[in-house]
Amino acid sequence: MISETIFLSPTDLMLAALLVVALALVSRCLGLGLAGQMIVAALRTALQLSLVGLVLKVVFSSIEPLWIASMAAVMLVAAAREVMARQTRRFTGWWGFGMGAIPMFVSSFAVTILSLVVVIGVDPWYTPQYAIPLLGMMLGNTMTGIALGLERLTESVWERRRVIEARLMLGHTWSEAIFDIRRASARSAMIPAINAMAAAGLVSLPGMMTGQILAGNPPVEAVKYQILIMFIISAGTGFGAFIAVWAGSRRLFDDRERLRLDRLCRPP
């Protein structure tokens, strides 16, 4: 039996918002210094999602490639900015932006297009109802993976700079000198995706599936889409993080394989 969707009213959402306000008050009483951030983040959620809802309404109403491409570009730029903002020691200049944007573009777009064409088989492949949510989920997760991988990479290289240089002095190549750090960074980027796959269904019901079930879709269909999403998210996150960590590692050395920490910004 398929239950009918219960439409949420603004009052329902206000009630949920009260919970966040209560949490902010408690954190203020505990002196955690998080109340302001929490309220701003909650307001951003409401505002950004409302806006995107309106935009999606327009985009979904017509299959116009230019609209879809523009929306995808905005999503990519926003995600790349987030990656950059989360780095304690980001790369200097455009590298700081490109180190997030390029791997994210290569990995998220490639995996999303592959899924749309080969797995889902939707026609045309850029049908916004499929393409935009899939790309959004891919970018959101790839962004986290790349941000974690790059943060671990740059912080570890800074902390272990003297060991890396000692290895270079003994004639190790840049790749050998940074091998351990690169491996640990790629692993830390992948851990959230692996944990999510391992815990799915047992510990947590993934958000997209919960959303579909709440919206009245059959659970079996929701599960199938969720499995698809988790697989492509893991693949996208992994490939994106590997590209970013590898490119970031290479950027930390110049053509004479010297460690170039001057290519990282000082922490704010």
């Binding site: 240089e165 000692a166 270079l168 002095m169 003994l170 004639g171 004479r256 394989e257 010297r258 460690l259």
Partner: protein
């Protein structure tokens, strides 16, 4: 005769221009106050820092040799050694029992965790590790700073034997004039990023 090391108008982070020649099998001592640019000079020769000017090893310019190969030939021993594996032995590709013996180190140390080494042991082991590459030039940044007189003598003898046996050139940074007069054929002073007298005193 081609010099083992030739440095032409080297500039690096406000240090220089510096020019220096070192012949095969000779040891040059370098002294000067802290901040004079001695360590930067050594790092530039080992190609660890971007720099201006030209550096030649046996007549071949630095840029013509792959960086890792250059660094294996130009062995830089920093003032403080670094270790990255858990045990000492993992840092060595072979067990040079004779080298260990000459530096007064028991080969049993190879199975020890690095964390248990004294600073003096680290210093001596770092020299042995460097010599595994059979470098043609040794750049030693205060190699006996943490050592007592017995172990200082052992390190001096080890470097001298290596130099005489292989013809390697040595550039030795030190603060003790007495020691530099003992180990070096020529001593060059450095202050404010310049050599006081590039020809040095003998």
């Amino acid at each position: 005769m081609i010099s083992r090391l030739r440095v032409d108008n080297l500039t690096i982070h406000g240090v220089g221009p510096l020019s220096l020649d070192i012949d095969i099998g000779t040891c040059v001592g370098l002294f000067g106050p802290s901040g004079a640019g001695k360590t930067l000079f050594l790092r530039a020769i080992a190609d660890m820092e971007p720099h201006g000017g030209a550096i030649y090893l046996d007549g071949t310019e630095q840029a013509r040799i792959r960086a890792p190969d250059w660094r294996r030939q130009v062995g830089l021993l920093p003032a403080e050694s670094m270790w990255w594996f858990d045990t000492v032995g993992e840092h060595f590709s072979r067990q040079d029992a004779d080298g260990f013996d000459r530096l007064g180190i028991d080969t049993g140390l190879l199975s020890c965790p690095v964390s248990r080494l004294s600073s003096g042991e680290r210093q001596r082991l770092a020299l042995l590790r460097l010599l595994e590459n059979r470098p043609r030039l040794l750049l030693l940044d205060e190699p006996t700073a943490n050592l007592d007189s017995d172990n200082t003598a052992r390190v001096e003898m080890m470097v001298r034997t290596y130099r005489e046996k292989t013809g390697a050139a040595v550039l030795w940074i030190g603060h003790r004039h007495v020691q530099l007069r003992r180990v070096a054929m020529r001593i060059v002073g450095m202050s404010g990023g310049r050599f006081d007298d590039p020809g040095g005193t003998r």
